[in-house]
């Protein structure tokens, strides 16, 4: 009985959820398995209150290791490397350091255009399945900046945040 309505529910969900998703900086793939690779595609739908985006900085969440960002024509790509909070096992080896922050800068993405920023890495098998992993992003527009870094506290809904950090839901590897 309900099954027939499912597309309708989905459409309703899309209608309700879409504006928020379009207004925020988000990740294209909202779910990923631990212990596998993850291609993070950051979607940047607009500038900072009308100003063109000139830089995107992303902080790697703890447990997202062996990260490699994808270069973008017209943007300078830099990374900040350092020690992880804990050592991780990757392909039978212990990894203790890697990319902590990725920065695309020197670009010019006008407010009326859309673009994506991509990086690929490994989600450690030690990460807790069922929970969310947050990728705090600072969007710079010359002097102005938008900080997509809010992380909901316990008992708080993500929808109540004004500038939530992009996030994925971790699931068990199949």
């Amino acid at each position: 009985m309900l099954a027939g309505f499912r597309p309708l529910f989905a459409a309703g969900f899309l209608l309700a959820g879409a504006p928020a998703a379009f207004a925020h900086v988000t990740l294209e793939t909202g779910e990923a398995a631990i212990g596998s690779s993850y291609k993070a595609v950051l979607r940047v739908p607009h500038g900072c209150e009308g100003k063109a985006t000139t830089a995107i900085r992303v902080k790697m969440p703890e447990g997202f290791i062996a990260v490699k960002p994808m270069p973008k024509p017209g943007w300078k790509l830099e990374t900040v490397r350092g020690k992880y909070a804990a050592p991780y096992q990757l392909w039978g080896e212990t990894v203790t350091e890697g990319v902590l922050e990725v920065k695309w800068s020197g670009g010019d993405l006008p407010d009326e255009f859309y673009d994506e920023f991509v990086m690929r890495g490994q989600l450690s098998a030690d990460l807790p399945a069922g929970e969310k992993l947050y990728f705090p992003v600072v969007q710079e527009c010359g002097e102005a900046a938008e900080r997509w870094i809010e992380i909901p506290q316990a008992g708080e809904s993500e929808d109540s945040l004004e500038k939530p950090a992009p996030a994925i839901t971790l699931r068990r590897k199949k």
Partner: protein, 539 residues
């Protein structure tokens, strides 16, 4: 050992009493620099209007000054009153233990404390458990009988201090051996002697909110002896006795009545609204001079009038001495009065808009009449009367009679100040900031909005890490909202004030009540700590 001490103390009782008097005088002269303002309630826990999920274990009331609690009552939703007797003081905060779990509904915590200036201050806060219900009736009804008694006793005390002691002084210094008006002066002194202890007892009744019938209860007198008004009464009693002695021992009259006159000034400066204002050394000196001036002037009126009426031989000399010395005395009296009025009232509009200002206005009208008469006496009637012109003398006597009547009316108005906080204290209370402390594991903040009422306010934010370390934030945003009134977030970037705090200027809080507060603290580029709480804004 014990009994030896006791007997010794009994022997030296008189000396000790004198020493205590001197000590009191010393304390008053070297008035503490600490700001003794009329205590104002700054913060409460639970906050006024709060809705609690659980019955609180204790309540706390934080004042702007140290206070001592007199009566604390909890009015329960069914209207029954639970006296709260277990409390302790923590600096400016009164912490009260809640003796029993509370039922659901709205409660009123009614408090009455005595502040450093000796006046009781009272109020109440409402809070609800679970959900608000109709507020129980806990009105503070005014006991008019008690007020009338306090007022009468105060007027009688003024009569004793000013007409009695001032009269004794005039008889000793100005009358030149004449004893006219001695009976009048003695009556005023005795009235003052009766009124002084009565005033103290009534102060105790007022402090505890008890009716007149309880005047003989020891607790009432204990409470009264806790207030700074006791200094006034002790000094007044001593001064009144000295005044009586001056009447009885004319040979030592000058020394005794001078001491009594100084005592009048000290007694008045020892407590009361004016003595509590800053700068204290100035205000207390002004009260002292004002009191002495009043006593000098008013006290001389009755003996002088009676001497003139009887056409006593020394009357003309008395009149000459009085009119010679009265000008500088009145000048000091007026200057001191003006200083006191300016500090107490602050803005001219307060003369009309506050009860205290209204009384001052009434007093000024009476004084205008009094000064007109005094000027008439001094410049029109004195010279002919000194020349022993009978008609002028009669006019002068009549005029002095009216003057005494006006003086009593002024005493009546001044005694009314006992019931009205001065605009200075009202303004001070209104300017008190609304403040909260938010503490989480990651960070804590002291936020204060000054003044804590609606209108333009300045927010000041002090940040620390959760373990009391310094927190060097990159940016702080203050967000105020009032969802229950449909007011969405008012968002302001704070700036560093240079003294380690963050400030938001030019913020306007449009409505009174409970506002939701959020502080977004950017700790590092990618790390933001959000603190949330509610703050109560007064109307």
């Amino acid at each position: 050992m014990m009994s030896a001490c006791e007997s010794r103390s009994r022997e030296t009782g008189g000396l000790r009493w004198l020493a205590r008097l001197l000590a009191v005088a010393l304390v008053i002269c070297v008035a503490p620099a600490a700001a003794f303002a009329h205590a104002a309630l700054i913060a409460t826990d639970p906050a006024d209007g709060a809705v609690l999920a659980q019955s609180p274990a204790r309540f706390s009331l934080t004042f702007s000054e140290p206070v001592s609690p007199l009566v604390l009552n909890l009015v329960r939703p069914d209207g029954t009153v639970l006296p709260l007797t277990a409390f302790h003081l923590d600096d400016h905060t009164v912490v009260v233990d809640n003796p029993a779990p509370l039922a659901r509904g709205t409660h009123v915590l009614s408090w009455r404390v005595v502040s450093a200036d000796g006046h009781p201050v009272a109020g109440s806060i409402l809070f609800s458990l679970g959900a608000p219900s109709a507020a129980p009736a806990a009105t503070e009804s005014v006991d008019w009988n008690l007020r009338a008694a306090i007022w009468l006793a105060r007027v009688a005390l003024y009569a004793g201090l000013f007409l009695g002691i001032g009269g004794a002084f005039a008889l000793s210094f100005l009358a030149g051996g004449g004893r006219d008006g001695k009976r009048f002066v003695a009556t005023a002194l005795l009235a003052g002697l009766a009124a002084a202890p009565l005033s103290l007892g009534l102060q105790g009744l007022d402090a505890l909110g008890a009716p007149l019938t309880h005047i003989l209860t020891p607790a009432i007198w204990r409470a009264a002896l806790e207030t700074t008004f006791r200094f006034t009464i002790w000094i007044a009693l001593a001064a009144l006795l000295l005044g009586l002695l001056a009447l009885m021992l004319p040979r030592a009259g000058k020394v005794l009545s001078l001491a009594a006159l100084l005592g009048t000034g000290l007694a008045l400066a020892a407590s009361g609204h004016a003595g509590a204002a800053d700068p204290q050394w100035l205000m207390r000196s002004m009260v002292f001079l004002h009191g002495i001036g009043i006593a000098f002037w008013c006290g001389a009126l009755a003996p002088l009038g009676l001497a003139l009426k009887r056409r006593a031989p020394g009357a003309t000399a008395f009149l000459r001495r009085f009119s010679f010395s009265i000008l500088p005395v009145v000048a000091i009296l007026v200057i001191a009065g003006v200083v006191l009025a300016i500090v107490q009232v602050g803005t001219p509009s307060a003369l009309l808009t506050t009860a205290y200002g209204n009384l001052l206005s009434a007093k000024l009208v009476l004084l205008a009449g009094l000064f007109s008469l005094a000027a008439l006496n001094r410049w029109k009637l004195t010279a002919p009367a000194e020349a022993s012109h009978a008609g002028s003398s009669r006019n002068l006597v009549r005029s002095i009679g009216v003057e005494i009547f006006l003086v009593l009316a002024v005493f009546g108005v001044a005694a009314g100040w006992r019931f009205t906080p001065p605009p200075r204290a009202l303004a001070l209370a209104a300017a008190q900031p609304a403040a909260i402390h938010i503490h989480t594991a990651k960070a804590m903040a002291d936020l204060s909005l000054a003044p804590g009422h609606t209108g333009p306010v300045t927010a000041s934010i002090m940040l620390m890490t959760g373990d009391f370390g310094p927190l060097d934030a990159k940016a702080v945003t203050l967000v105020l909202s009032k969802p229950d009134s449909g007011i969405e977030a008012i968002r302001r970037e704070a700036h560093k004030a240079g003294d380690g705090t963050w400030r938001v200027d030019g913020l306007v809080v449009p409505l009174a009540g409970r506002w939701m507060v959020r502080l977004d603290i950017l700790v590092s580029d990618f790390d933001m700590v959000t603190l949330k709480d509610a703050i109560a804004i007064r109307p």
